[in-house]
């Protein structure tokens, strides 16, 4: 069968999961399929899912790394519930992921990896490729990938190890054929990536071509698929992941404010990419400081803020735990810093590479004393940019630390993103005091009447010398003050200041019915699953609405009124019910939770089922 005669089938969307050993290059393969798909103009959403171990023993179940990609001709919000296609580079990858593949789906395996040793490591007593267990339920394509790349590169002066490593490109080339995608972008990328190793580049390109040719010339494959361009809003797009978008949002805020960006931090999964990204932007006066520990990371940021930089740090839950005393200092000193928490599974070391939303209490309540901190959460990978920018703007405007919650799924996941113009971003009003604001001295705790932000004078400013610190401050002198009434006043001022940020929040948008049987209320990375569920339910005429919260401290002023318009409230969260508790406490409503804490995004299907159970 030739390429011309393969049946071409149009489909609305496809979900592919690439899975293999940690060393098989599955993240890279997924990344390249994503980049190519983005350029073609599909909407897409990705979910990298990798183990905490860098290289668990080859062939073991613990070492399986996966990358899920959903691409569509429609506007989509999640990487999808159940993959249509599984690419399994070894028996362990098949074993781990098979149960989540849609029945009737397609499975593509590297037949050469199904050796007795690998089968045993994966816990297979017999080879699943040789019995009927797979063939009856799925469309199985068993390709001798290793053998094919070895043959393709036989004449090259490369080690067999180097050649065999290109088998991921063979799988990719085959999938490009299957989904009707050009190879050129990936070839260009390979040439750039391996510019100093042209032989490796050549081997990978050969593997890519071999995969494509295998699809077009063998008679095994009878169907190819096309997915039409998505009808996205006008604009120029790029593909972006959440950690990159976070870094970019922080840099954009610093540029807008006209100050250097200072980042103090300590490497931690899954937040380290924020540090890596910013470290490459020194030409924009971005100052990254890899500190000796999490505490020093935030401490240096506080110091930089005192000196007048736009200061930030990024970490994950365990890192926030270490930073919490310093967060209290930033509250007391009323200095603007942005603390990003790329949430991961907890408690303790937990699931470092898996996603979770269980640090909400920590963000809102996790400090000694009355230490209110504004908390904002990003909804999608691209939204991390706007959330980081907004966090910076509020921090500076209100002279307060701000916590930005993202999560492992948002941080590593990606989506097409309409590129904003710097001109369209709101101003960041940053003004240092340069003269006495009191009769004969500078009063650091003299507050702006509207925002209650304290006056900010930075070292190097003549005449505004002053001392601040962690001891209670006198209002408005900033001198150490132990007076009982002063303490009460300052406690209330700090709370009032943070609550007042609600005036910055736009009117809450309600998707779907403005009143009715049930309101879906979500925050953070659960946006996509919840919105997808809401769209599906909406299409079935269910009487439901969806509200997504961006600010969790303070809540928007109109939230109480909105909650009152529905008979029931359902809050899906990847935790045991943290927002639910806050909503119940704040609004005295009987909110119900859907709490699935598996280290993965909640599936839309689970939300839909729960809604149907609740409203019949």
């Amino acid at each position: 069968m030739s390429e011309q005669t393969a049946e071409m089938k149009h489909v609305e969307e496809v979900i592919i999961r690439f899975a293999g050993d940690s060393g098989d290059g599955m993240q890279l393969t997924g990344d390249r399929f994503t980049a190519n798909t983005a350029i073609i103009g599909n909407d897409l959403s990705t979910l990298p899912d990798y183990p905490a171990e860098i290289r668990a023993p080859a062939g073991s179940l613990a070492g399986v790394s996966a990358f899920q990609l959903r691409f569509s001709s429609k506007d989509i919000h999640t990487p999808g519930d159940e993959p249509d296609v599984l690419v399994a580079m070894n028996p362990a990858a098949l074993k781990v992921h098979l149960k989540e593949i849609v029945k009737g789906g397609t499975i593509i395996v590297n037949a050469n990896a199904f050796t007795p040793k690998n089968l045993k490591l994966a816990g297979y007593e017999t080879n699943p490729l040789e019995d009927d267990s797979l063939k009856n339920l799925y469309t199985l394509y068993s390709i001798e990938m290793t053998k094919l790349v070895v043959a393709a590169c036989a004449d090259m002066d490369l080690s067999s190890k180097d050649i065999e490593r290109t088998k991921n490109m063979l799988a990719l080339g085959y999938l490009f054929w299957m989904y009707n995608r050009p190879l050129e972008n990936t070839k260009t990328w390979l040439k750039q990536k391996f510019a100093k190793k042209p032989l490796i580049a050549e081997a990978n390109i050969r593997a890519l071509d071999t995969g494509r040719n295998y699809g077009s010339t063998t008679e095994v494959f009878t169907t190819r698929y096309t997915v039409a361009k998505a009808q996205l809003r006008k604009g120029t797009y790029r593909n972006i992941n959440g950690n990159y978008a976070t870094a970019l949002g922080l840099a954009a805020a610093a540029e807008k404010a006209g100050r250097p960006l200072f980042y103090g931090g300590y490497p931690i999964t899954p937040a380290s990419d924020v540090l890596h990204t910013l470290a490459a932007w020194k030409h924009m006066n971005v100052r990254t400081f890899q500190a000796e520990d999490e505490i020093a990371g935030i401490a240096a940021a506080i110091g930089a803020a005192f000196a007048g930089n736009l200061a930030c740090t990024a970490t994950s839950g365990p890192g926030v735990a270490l930073k919490s005393e310093a967060l209290g200092l930033a509250v007391m000193a009323e200095l603007p810093i942005v603390v990003v928490n790329v949430q991961r599974g907890g408690p303790s070391t937990g699931l470092p590479t898996k996603t979770e939303q269980a640090d909400l209490y920590q963000a809102v309540y996790g400090r000694n004393g009355e230490a209110p901190i504004p908390v904002i959460a990003a909804a999608t990978p691209g939204d991390c940019f706007y959330a980081a920018y907004e966090a910076s703007r509020i921090a500076v405007m209100y002279m307060t630390p701000v916590i930005l919650l993202t999560d492992g799924y948002l941080g590593n996941g990606s989506e097409p993103w309409a590129i904003p113009s710097m001109d369209d971003l709101p101003d960041i009003p940053l003004k240092f005091v340069t003269e006495h604001n009191g009769e004969d001295r500078f009063l650091p705790y003299l507050r702006d009447e509207k925002t209650l932000a304290r006056a900010w004078a930075i070292p190097g400013t003549p005449g505004c010398e002053h001392r601040i610190g962690g001891l209670e401050k006198g209002d408005p002198t900033g001198d150490v003050n132990y007076d009982p009434d002063n303490h009460h006043v300052m406690i209330m001022r700090r709370a009032e200041k943070v609550n007042g940020i609600s005036r910055e929040l736009p009117e809450t948008k309600v998707y779907g019915k403005k009143s009715g049987d049930l309101l879906l209320l979500s925050w953070g990375g659960t946006f996509g699953s919840t919105r997808s569920a809401a769209e599906k339910l909406q299409s079935e005429d269910a009487s439901i609405g969806h509200v997504h919260l961006r600010w969790i401290n303070p809540f928007p002023n109109d939230l109480g009124d909105i909650l009152a318009k529905y008979d029931k409230i359902l809050i899906p969260e990847i935790n045991a019910g943290q927002l639910r508790t806050m909503i119940r406490a704040e609004y005295l409503v009987d909110a119900i939770g859907l709490n699935i804490v598996r280290g993965r995004p909640i599936r839309s299907r689970d939300i839909i089922e729960k809604v149907k159970e609740m409203v019949g």
Binding site: K282, N285, E292, I295, A296, A300, A301, G303, F306, E465
Partner: protein, 340 residues
């Protein structure tokens, strides 16, 4: 703000005295340190508004409140990390860390060693009273073994740090020591700390009248101090004693005291101090509190090595030369596509 204050030539002691009442115990060694600092700072050639004092927690850490400069009294142990951020954010500032043996060596030990390793151009003044004062008298990481305190009624069983050795082991580039009672010497050491480009580590032996009175009695008592203090001078033989007739001699690699009036020895047998010599600095730091040997006071080690923020700013400058562009350029970099 009057012009006179901007002109550093005319700064006076009173320009550095804040309006806050000093609240240390009467007779505390901290008063002497504050007085010397206020005396020396007008003459350092730095604009007053460019001085920043950062402290952690403890008696010593109240110091910034009493200096009329920029100051930040932070949290326990973190002054070194916060000061690092201040200096990297604005290398123009003259940054001073005020800390103690508990703050800088116990809860903040990690930050102290990493600051020294990085060699950020800030100045550490570590008040070492060998006790926890503010928490009312527990033993500290510099208290001698067997110290009986409220928390160690049968005597402490953990061995103390020698701050100078720790600083040297952390690859500190300037390590000096002075005494709260030696006011002139302290002034000199503050000036030297300031002059050093890189992290300066100045340990001040400071008497806590309430919880550890007399900890440095052998170094302050007029009758015996000359025999117990070795005043260091660069390029000079290490002589001490009231008539400067005792000296430090290396017997193999073991420092011993010799009497140069003894026929057996002359001044030529006495070890000559070289501030740039790491081995000599190691020997000096180790003879602290060694029975039969004097305690070195002065600059033990001073060497110019690359300074963190210089390298950092050089990288930024180089990056700016090699790559122009703003956030807008990064926003649109890479693969993009347009939806009409």
């Amino acid at each position: 703000m009057s012009e006179t204050l901007i002109n550093t030539q005319q700064l006076k002691r009173s320009d550095f005295v804040s309006d806050q009442a000093v609240k240390w115990c009467p007779g505390c060694g901290d008063y002497a340190i504050l007085a010397q600092a206020q005396k020396v700072f007008p003459d350092l050639g730095v604009k007053k508004e460019n001085f920043v004092f950062i402290s952690g927690i403890g008696c010593s850490s109240r110091f910034p409140y009493y200096m009329d400069t920029y100051g930040f009294h932070t949290i326990h142990g973190r002054a070194a990390a916060i000061a690092s951020g201040v200096k990297v954010a604005n290398p123009e500032l003259s940054v001073w860390i005020i800390t103690g043996d508990g703050d800088g060596l116990s809860i903040g030990g990690n930050h102290t060693i990493h600051l020294l390793r990085r060699n950020i151009d800030v100045n550490i003044i570590l008040f070492n009273n060998r006790i926890y004062g503010l928490t009312k008298g527990q033993y500290s990481p510099t208290s001698e073994l067997g110290k009986v305190t409220k928390s160690t009624p049968l005597g402490s069983i953990d061995r103390p740090f020698n701050p100078a050795s720790l600083a040297l082991g952390s690859r500190g580039s300037f390590i000096a020591r002075t005494l709260d009672r030696e006011t002139k010497h302290m002034q000199e050491m503050i000036k030297r700390s300031h002059a050093h480009h890189g992290t300066s580590f100045l340990e001040v032996y400071q008497n806590c009248l309430i919880f550890n009175d007399g900890a440095f009695e052998n170094l302050t008592n007029r009758d015996v101090k000359e025999d117990n203090i070795l005043y260091l001078e660069d390029g000079q033989p290490m002589l001490f004693g009231s008539k400067k007739t005792k000296g430090i001699h290396l017997d193999g690699n073991v420092p011993v005291v010799i009497d140069i009036e003894d026929d057996k020895w002359s001044v030529d047998d006495v070890l000559v101090h070289d501030e740039k010599d790491f081995i000599i600095a190691s020997i000096l730091s180790h003879i602290t509190f060694q029975p039969g040997l004097p305690t070195p006071i002065g600059v033990m080690y001073a060497k110019d090595v690359p300074v963190y923020e210089d390298l950092h700013m050089a990288q930024i400058d180089k990056a700016k030369t090699n790559r122009q562009g703003s956030v807008s350029d990064i926003l649109t970099a890479g693969d993009t596509w347009t939806v009409e």
